[in-house]
């Protein structure tokens, strides 16, 4: 049963959710616009007897995460884009060693030092690798402060279930905004036993080893194939999305997180002009909700897709793969930390409505 709603900032809710999920380890390095996660942890972790370390760098922080996870403990780090780039080495090792970890990226605009305003330009980095080698991260994109709470708790369960990084991909808007949030009285924590953890033998017959190195090609390929099998199960079981008005939509928007919120208003405005617009909002970015997009593309009422992102167009590549050429796909994005104006999106919808093929992507 949910308790009374409280008004909280997105970044603080992430930290509170982690603690509620049983996480007693936070290792981080300051960077805007996610620093409130760290501030909250610095105070709360000490008060509840958990571990908080302000590391010397993001590189060190993710390796502290690696160590705590290897010892069998729930652990989280958070950062923003340039800091997440620095963490990629550790994220790859976490994938190789199959450790559970939650990594939060409150994305800011890039490349390089870029800016500190919101962006979704780290989609490729989050969903297509980022670090070296064949691996995946489970990537979750909440769209509200309430979802930040619920999905952060869930991220710990998923990370433990699949022994991999579960990444919360937010952005500066989501992290900084204040919204009412209702906390549950009891969290749905599912934490499996971790007999593989390196926590001291303590009478165990064999010593445990946490490693990502496999010198023999056949051994490494076997590990690669195990990962592939795991990822297939996740693609089958963990896809999450929200679908709005697909049954009679002429144009279907695909947008996640902050962008999807702007699009909700545009959908109403389009309806006032007699254009039926639906939306598919991926909640998991990987696994990507490919099937619902493919099935929607097959609907006779659907004339075109419009992908909206705070980037030069990254998720749209997955949308195109999912649509599989069945319908034209359009893209509209803003960058640099700017958000799209509702009118910009509405104009794009009107143009697509007039001619669904004009200016469609190849």
């Amino acid at each position: 049963m949910a308790s009374k709603k409280v008004l909280m900032k997105g970044n603080e809710v992430i930290a509170e959710a982690a603690i509620r999920a049983g996480c007693r380890n936070y290792f981080g390095y300051p960077i805007t616009p996610q620093t409130e996660v760290m501030h909250y942890m610095a105070k709360k972790m000490v008060q509840i007897g958990g571990n908080f370390v302000q590391a010397e760098s993001e590189v060190a922080a993710i390796n502290m995460v690696y160590g705590a996870a290897a010892a069998g403990f729930r652990v989280m780090t958070s950062s923003s884009s340039p800091g997440i780039s620095l963490k990629q080495e550790g994220i790859s090792y976490i994938a190789g060693a199959e450790l559970p970890a939650v990594v939060v990226n409150i994305v800011r605009a890039g490349p390089g030092l870029g800016g500190i305003q919101p962006s979704q330009g780290d989609y490729f980095q989050a969903c297509k690798g980022g670090g070296h080698g064949d691996y995946r991260n489970l990537v979750i994109a909440p769209a509200s402060v309430q979802e930040l709470y619920e999905l952060t708790v869930e991220a710990f369960n998923l990370a433990d279930k699949y022994r991999m990084t579960c990444m919360i991909l937010g952005d500066g808007t989501l992290g900084q905004m204040m919204e009412p949030v209702a906390f549950r009285d009891v969290e749905p924590i599912v934490e499996p036993e971790k007999p593989w953890a390196a926590c001291g033998r303590g009478g165990r017959a064999e010593h445990n080893t946490v490693t990502s190195i496999y010198i023999q090609p056949d051994d490494l390929e076997r590990k690669n194939l195990e990962l592939v099998e795991k990822y297939k199960i996740i693609e089958r079981d963990e896809v999450r999305y929200e679908a709005i008005g697909l049954e009679d939509a002429e144009i279907v928007i695909v947008a996640f997180s902050t962008c999807s919120r702007i699009c909700r208003n545009v959908i109403r405005q389009a309806a006032e002009k007699g254009i039926k617009v639906g939306m598919i909002r991926p909640i998991t970015l990987w696994p990507f909700p490919k099937q619902i997009i493919r099935d929607t593309a097959a609907l006779p009422n659907v004339k075109a897709f419009l992908d909206i992102e705070l980037s030069a167009g990254q998720m749209v590549e997955d949308v195109q793969i999912a649509v599989k050429g069945q319908k034209p796909v359009h893209f509209f994005g803003r960058m640099g930390g700017n958000l799209p104006m509702q009118k910009e999106i509405l104009d794009k919808i009107i143009a697509i409505h007039e001619d669904p093929n004009k200016e469609a992507l190849d």
Partner: protein
């Protein structure tokens, strides 16, 4: 027949892959023996690094985590903060600890992490085939200082123990070598003292081992030992750089009393 000697249970028994004349094997055995003699084998987590000893976890019989290049002190921090009653040690070479992992080792020491770093300094990158290390001596020929290390071009060797010791968070820092029985026994004592200081929560502890690399030095094993004595020790003098005042007999007695107190 009475058993007069047996292999330490601190090692798995898997044959070492190290080159003839390399002292990794001696150091492994000493650490393993100390873990057994102190009764902490079941309560120790080792952190392997990147370099020739990347798979030290296959030899040590304690639990182990393999870390990315240079990151072992950060990984050990993540482990030890959760397992405060366990012993956690890193095992790192000079490229790993003094070059790519310079930040991690300094900050682990500065934070006074209750971990032990075993630093194996052979003045060269071993596994990647003999490149210049931060600890390579002036004039020393390596595959990336083929004309000898020139200070005006490649800078100076780093004396890690002397750099770490002044940090307040560092409780015990000693440099040892393994050139003969006496030094080997001194090295073993240093390992034990580092573990004792860690168990007593005195702060960060490090033992630097001057080590040989006949393969990449281009020397016979015995020549390598002589070279270490003649060339390395003048640059890297042996001795205790931090914690000389610690009364280890008392530390050990106190730890024993606390343990027995906990049982009773």
């Amino acid at each position: 027949m009475a058993v007069v000697f047996e292999a330490t249970k601190g090692l798995t028994g898997k044959p070492f892959h190290y080159c003839p004349g390399c002292t990794h094997g001696i150091i492994h055995r000493l650490i393993a023996e100390v873990m057994c003699e102190m009764g902490i084998l079941e309560d120790t987590v080792s952190v392997a690094s990147v370099g020739c000893s990347y798979n030290s976890y296959e030899y040590f019989a304690c639990d182990a985590v393999q870390a990315a290049h240079g990151r072992a002190p950060a990984v050990a921090t993540g482990i030890k903060r959760n397992l405060k009653d366990k012993v956690v040690f890193t095992y790192q070479g000079d490229g790993d600890l003094a070059s790519i992992g310079a930040a991690e080792i300094i900050h682990a020491a500065a934070r006074g992490e209750k971990i032990t770093a075993f630093f194996i300094n052979n003045a060269v990158y071993g596994m990647t085939s003999g490149q210049m290390a931060p600890t390579t001596l002036l004039g020393q020929v390596t595959t990336t200082s083929p004309f000898g290390r020139d200070a005006s071009y490649q800078g100076y060797p780093i004396n890690v123990s002397e750099m770490i010791a002044p940090l307040t968070g560092a409780a015990y820092v000693e440099r040892v070598c393994l050139t003969d029985y006496k030094n080997i026994m001194a090295a073993k004592k240093a390992i034990k003292q580092a573990f004792l200081a860690q168990q007593a929560n005195l702060g960060f502890t490090m033992v630097e081992f001057l080590s040989t690399c006949p393969t990449n030095w281009g020397k016979e094993p015995l020549e390598a030992m002589d070279w270490l004595k003649e060339k390395m020790i003048p640059q890297y003098p042996l001795g205790v750089f931090k914690g000389e005042e610690i009364d280890f007999k008392k530390v050990e007695a106190d730890l024993k009393a606390a343990k027995e107190g906990a049982k009773a």
